[in-house]
């Protein structure tokens, strides 16, 4: 294991970053966020076809790249850094991970190519540490009920719906999906409503494991968000003059930046560690490193990186002064992403509660 990036990972990062720089600048993201089509599905196709990101987690025999959580994490960092409106987390991480667990080969192959997009129909606020609310029922192969605050459903072809311990596959076309105004403009959430919708049970799903995997990797996206905020703020305060000095020459600002940097340095180490351990979560049984170590690494990264992303984004708005409060400047997109992901797949507090159990720090009786 290493907490550094391998050469292969750095090459993957460079390709993704180049493409995003070209096609996914902040002005474009903002324009798109205000449009009817917040997701950039053309870019998604290119990213899947040319760089193969959609199939990173998929073994080579199913047409994937046979890579691991480590490479996924690098892509998430870059997508976070660009607040890219793409269904990578929802389709290529969560849905794909769920399918790999149940072993649904055909669909996995379709997802790996990026031609088909899927979404796991759980609330973005679902916690790995609590049972999912049972708002959908299945009777005679048809689903009824609704699930709110689902991310990525509106651009999915196929929906994967956990009901109890079973996973159901549903065609998106058979379902009502209402996108609601979302705090995160670049990853809106939707209410998914099933009304006698036909679904096929495709296997048993350990949702906790999938959500834990998602939370641990989301930390890398949060790291990317924090890194963009830190470096953008750095550039700004080096340029911006007040009192005939660069704002970044004022000691109070410098000390805050040093503290933010230290937070981000530790976020990077935590996110890398989580990715490295989650890379051992293979196949249906999750063999490899002990589950406890993996869950602990994910919980540590998720709680730390969530809070760091929010804090750095908030400080970034503050240090940009008035301009940071304008719609025109992209920093708000990052603040909104950071704040939304703080709630996603377990709040920082929920992850710390998991740490209590995993690190033997029992709560008061």
């Amino acid at each position: 294991m290493t907490l550094l990036y391998t050469e292969v990972e750095e090459e993957l990062r460079a390709s993704v970053r180049d493409l995003l720089a070209d096609r996914c600048g902040s002005a474009a993201v903002l324009r798109r966020a205000e449009s009817e089509a917040p997701y950039d599905m053309d870019l998604w196709k290119t990213l899947s076809r040319d760089i193969g990101v959609a199939g990173l987690l998929v073994p080579e025999e199913y047409g994937g790249a046979g890579a691991s959580a480590r490479e996924v994490a690098v892509v998430l960092e870059e997508l976070g850094r660009a607040v890219a409106p793409l269904p990578f987390l929802t389709s290529s991480v969560l849905a794909t991970k769920a399918l790999l667990q149940v072993g649904e080969e055909d669909l996995i192959q379709e997802l790996a190519s990026g031609e088909t997009t899927a979404a796991l129909v759980v609330s973005l606020a679902a916690s790995p540490y609590r049972p999912l609310p049972e708002t959908v029922t299945v009777t005679d192969g048809v689903l009824n009920g609704e699930i709110r605050a689902v991310a990525g459903a509106d651009v999915a072809d196929v929906l994967l719906v956990p009901v109890g311990t079973a996973l159901y596959q549903v065609e998106a076309a058979d379902v009502r999906i209402d996108v609601v105004p979302s705090l995160d403009l670049t990853r809106p959430v939707a209410t998914v409503t099933f009304s006698d919708t036909p679904g096929e049970a495709i296997g048993r799903l350990d949702t906790r494991r999938v959500l834990n995997f998602g939370a641990g990797l989301l930390a890398s996206e949060q790291l990317g968000v924090a890194e963009w905020c830190l470096s953008t703020t750095l550039s700004y305060i080096k340029e911006r003059h007040q009192f005939a000095r660069p704002v970044g020459s004022f000691q109070a600002i410098k000390h805050r930046m040093a503290d933010l940097w230290l937070d981000v340095v530790r976020a990077r180490a935590a996110a890398r560690n989580a990715a490295d351990l989650l890379a051992t979560d293979q196949g249906a049984s999750g063999e490899g490193e002990a589950t406890g170590d993996r869950e602990l690494a994910a919980a540590v990264a998720a709680s730390w990186c969530s809070e760091v992303a929010v804090h750095v984004a908030e400080e970034s708005v503050q240090l940009h002064g008035g301009i940071g409060m304008t719609w025109e400047h992209p920093v708000h997109l990052y603040l909104k992403r950071a704040k939304s992901t703080e709630i996603a797949f377990g709040t920082p507090g929920a992850h710390r509660e998991a740490v209590a159990a995993l690190a033997d720090l029992p709560a008061p009786a």
Partner: protein
């Protein structure tokens, strides 16, 4: 000798006896101004009685239920323009401006901040060049609330570029109906446009609209800003009220959302809100007869921190509901509807609390230097002509 409580009460009663609150609203307000019951600490003839400031409360109690002015729309006029005009205006200016300002017949806005001059307001670059009896103004201002329905603005502009920055400024009343004034809504991260950018192109202002001496604009502006900071965060709240009350209500209504992490943070914030409230109460006791001083900066700083922490906690506490937003529509708003909007709006809007009206960084400087007497930092811009400053 100044009027005492009893005398003020009698004046109010006499006024009420002579004016029907059920009649024309504007007539009533104009008459109230003329009776010296607008702001009792202003001089007679200018809406006041020359009485102690705190006796205004007596008037308000006596005139409860009668037609009232609109403090939301008139914030800038009442809180900033009026005390400045009173202190620095000529007799003509006071007579001309104060009555319609108070009655709300004329709305005021503020043209101070510029894209290049935020915390360092004194470096502003909007130029005013003298042309006979007039001044020709060119430049761009920003963060102007209510500009689109304002009749007048308080404006600081540069009249001399060859002296150090604080010394080349002059303070004007700007006619917002003058040719060359263009107002554009400025969209914020909340989606709405609460503020405007104001572009000034060849705007001609008569010299009779100048407030204070040429070159004395910085000193005049200080009066305005001191009054602004006291206005922010200075309002009394009841124990457990305000923003913390709102979050506490969320907490009480959602037992299923409670966790120990959130509980501990809420308790800390509740205590902080309470001690901040008590400190505000204590400060008001100290100031009840005095003038606003730099200590008020501490209250604004504390309220900004609290609002941000509380509104952030509120979003997190709501979980799934915190992921949605009430309304992203780009529309003008005339005031901050902090309690009427959703948690996401409050979270975003509160971010401005530590920027508007003096950033928290500037407020800490003020406390450190003016309250604690710590030495200022080495200044690189002290004796440099404005035109030679790096920017």
């Amino acid at each position: 000798m100044a009027l005492d409580e009893k005398a003020v009460k009698e004046r109010a009663a006499a006024f009420l006896a002579g004016h029907d609150p059920a009649g024309d609203r504007l007539e009533f307000l104009r008459a109230r101004f003329d009776a010296g019951l607008a702001w009792v600490h202003f001089p007679e003839g200018l809406g006041g009685l020359g009485a102690a400031r705190e006796l205004q409360n007596v008037v308000e109690r006596e005139l409860e239920g009668t037609p009232q002015i609109n403090p939301g729309l008139q914030t800038i006029g009442l809180g900033m323009a009026a005390p400045t005009i009173l202190t620095f205006g000529t007799d003509e200016q006071r007579k001309r401006f104060l009555r319609p300002l108070w009655t709300g017949e004329e709305i005021w806005c503020q043209l101070f901040s510029e894209p290049g001059a935020g915390s360092d307001l004194a470096t502003l670059g909007t130029r005013a060049v003298r042309d006979g009896d007039e001044w020709v103004v060119d430049g761009q201002k920003v963060w102007t609330s209510g500009a689109h329905h304002s009749r007048w603005a308080i404006l600081v502009a540069r009249t001399d570029v060859d002296v150090p920055k604080h010394r080349g400024l002059t303070y004007f009343v700007c006619d917002m109906h003058a040719p060359g004034v263009e107002v554009r809504p400025l969209r914020q991260i909340t989606g709405e446009a609460e503020f405007n950018e104001v572009f000034l192109t060849g705007v001609r202002l008569g010299d009779d609209l100048r407030l204070g001496e040429v070159g004395d604009g910085w000193r005049v502006a200080q009066t305005t800003l001191m009054n602004e900071r006291v206005a922010i965060g200075g309002a009394p709240v009841r124990r457990g009220g305000g923003v913390v009350g709102l979050v506490a209500d969320t907490w009480r209504s959602r037992p299923e959302a409670r966790t120990h992490d959130l509980h501990q943070r809420l308790l800390r914030l509740w205590v902080e809100a309470e001690v901040t409230r008590l400190a505000g109460t204590r400060l008001r006791e100290q100031l009840s007869a005095g003038q606003p001083g730099p200590e008020g900066s501490g209250m604004k700083l504390a309220f900004a921190d609290l609002n941000q922490a509380l509104s952030g906690l509120d979003v997190e506490l709501r979980g799934e509901e915190g992921l949605v937003y009430d309304d992203w529509t780009f529309r003008r708003s005339d005031s901050v509807d902090f309690f009427g909007r959703g948690p996401g709006y409050r979270y975003l809007r509160a971010k401005g609390n530590s920027i508007e009206g003096g950033t928290s960084e500037i407020l800490r400087n003020i406390i450190a230097e003016r309250v604690l007497g710590l030495p200022s930092e080495p200044r690189v811009d002290k004796d440099v002509p404005w035109k030679d400053l790096p920017r």
